[in-house]
């Protein structure tokens, strides 16, 4: 078990399959498959972006209702 832990961690992008040594390197790469970095909602695709926007709109509407 101790020997297993000595193996280096590898981060792979599930979209372009490029591999990185650190998470920050992964988060900062501009993915050739999507044209965005993993920090951008667009990296997760149109469906995620649409669901995210719809959820935010619902949250905003609820907040406004609570403040009335």
């Amino acid at each position: 078990m101790a020997d297993e832990q000595l193996l280096p961690e590898v981060h792979a992008c599930g979209q372009c399959e490029e591999q990185f040594e650190t998470e920050d390197q992964y988060l900062d790469h501009e993915c050739p498959a999507t044209g965005f970095t993993p920090r951008d909602p667009e990296h997760l695709g149109d469906e995620f972006k649409a669901v995210s926007e719809a959820a935010l709109a619902r949250g905003a509407a609820q907040k406004e209702k609570e403040e009335e």
Partner: protein
């Protein structure tokens, strides 16, 4: 589904708020520790190999055997305009083939805390021992920082979700169902 509560102070207008959601992906780790962490997986197909985004047709489970465990995390890669991600809920919708069972470490009570990653196994999981819910649980069933009440206030990941399908010899190979990963996002 998310519950979002956004501040309307500081003159933030609707357009701005629409573009300040957190960015959240599902990751999966495979192989011997530390393993390879594949970010933003495209599916959670389960089969007879320890592999991300696997081809279930090329890697079917012989009835009576188990799939390899999946070790997955909910990963917040950007907080957007949110202050907190919490209340993680995991469940499956859709039937399995025959009398196969789907087991997980996710649970709403007697949560075992954050598991330390270990090489996924195809023998019966000793960590995934509770039946996977088939509808949204009433409360969180996956922890953050080892606690079901935990929250992410900056980029980071949840505890590992471990799950495995265990089949019986009379089962028919092949079924399709959907995994659901839900979180709340708070302004």
């Amino acid at each position: 589904m998310r519950a979002l509560y956004l501040n309307t102070c500081l003159g933030i207008n609707k357009v701005d708020r629409l573009y300040h959601a957190a960015t959240v992906e599902i990751d999966e780790r495979n192989g011997a520790p530390a393993g390879t962490l594949t970010h933003n997986i495209t599916n959670t197909n389960m089969g007879s190999v320890d592999s991300v985004n696997l081809d279930p047709v090329a890697n079917p489970v012989t009835p009576g055997n188990n799939t390899y465990e999946k070790w997955q995390q909910i990963h917040v890669t950007a907080m957007g305009g949110s202050s907190q991600i919490n209340n993680l809920k995991i469940w499956r919708t859709g039937a399995l083939g025959g009398s196969a069972t789907h087991v997980t470490n996710a649970r709403t009570s007697s949560y075992g805390g954050a598991a330390t990653y270990a090489t996924p196994i195809a023998t019966a999981s000793t960590l995934a021992t509770q039946t996977m819910p088939t509808s949204a649980p009433g409360t969180a069933n996956l922890g953050i920082g080892g606690s079901l009440a935990g929250a992410l206030t900056a980029t980071g990941s949840s505890d590992y979700l471990i799950h495995q399908i265990q089949t019986n010899s009379a089962d028919t190979a092949g079924s399709t169902s959907t995994m659901n990963y839900q979180y709340d996002e708070v302004a």
